[in-house]
Symmetry: C2
Subunit: 192 residues, 2 copies
């Protein structure tokens, strides 16, 4: 997606350890117009697959997911990273290791909002090692829900996540695919 690649080049910064910081428009400050275009792109790609629900993870997945949900006219469920007082019982839970934060988090979705009648689209902000997406797939499996597609905002194609997701046979669509962050230079793969 050209617009997203422009945002990444102009407003993204590369930190040591192949970390791409996009706090200026996605992970801390959010550009609503860009989010709307991203939501439309996800919807266009997955509109014929009978999606009944979008599942993402708080917090940075929410903005792209709600615009995709609006475009597809389906609800969005965001997995929570830890339990809250008003949300304790009847959860599907998966443990996700974050290489960035160097720790494991439980992510959970209420059984009330995900069932075997659902055909879901998983959306997340980053695909690097694939652990978050695999956690969402595990939650879908626990619920008996079908996963029709995986939509990623930014894929770091030089890490293992894409290959791990490809093995599941589920279609993966990444709006921007980064081939390399070597020498603080952002290089993209060709669009899918």
């Amino acid at each position: 997606m050209k617009l997203l690649e422009e945002f990444i080049q102009e407003k993204g910064t590369v930190l040591p350890g192949n970390v791409l910081k996009v706090d200026a428009f996605l992970n801390h400050q959010i550009d609503p117009g860009l989010m709307q275009e991203m939501g439309k792109a996800f919807a266009e790609r997955f509109k014929d697959l009978g999606i009944t629900k979008i599942v993402t993870i708080e917090s940075s997945g929410i903005a792209p997911a709600v615009f995709a949900g609006l475009a597809l006219s389906v609800p969005v469920v965001f997995a929570r990273k830890k339990k809250s007082v008003t949300l304790t019982d009847n959860l599907y839970t998966s443990t996700v290791y974050s290489y960035t934060k160097k720790k494991s988090n439980d992510i959970s979705v209420s059984k009330q909002f995900l069932t075997d009648a659902d055909t879901i689209l998983v959306i997340d902000d980053f695909l690097a090692n694939g652990q978050a997406a695999l956690g969402l797939l595990e939650i879908a499996e626990l619920a008996g829900a079908k996963v029709a597609g995986i939509g990623i905002v930014i894929e770091k194609s030089f890490q293992q996540g894409r290959e791990l997701l490809n093995k599941t046979g589920i279609p993966v669509y990444s709006l921007a695919r980064i081939a390399s962050l070597e020498n603080e230079e952002i290089l993209f793969l060709e669009e899918e």
Copy 2:
């Protein structure tokens, strides 16, 4: 806002301790069409105040805030509840006590995304005791930013938050105002 009141009556549940659970459309599962209407309502109310940025708190403030941001053509910044590896330096921080979770959290906004040139609209999902909104006002003050308005999705008008915010002199606009949750019955105040 009539549509929101209908969602609250039909899909909200009242738990002991005057807790209103709206996980079905706001705090866990999100209804994107409702979020869009809410965003438009906030924008309509605050459009003439020279807003340059919307500030909210992860996670449940994000969806209403991005639609308001889209309608006002301004960026959204969400305060983070704790520091992450990619976001450590140069933060404005405030400590917020949550009566629901019975603990204090730091909320932070990067100095990069909030300055004394900004005129901000604060948006949050709930106004009960007012601690989250006051934390955002403190962050704005640290940044030297002007706060032109406060937009709340659901106000529990029988708690102290509204009164505390009124004392600041900043206009507060709540899309739904709840007069009482006694006997598990949801009663609204008249619309503002």
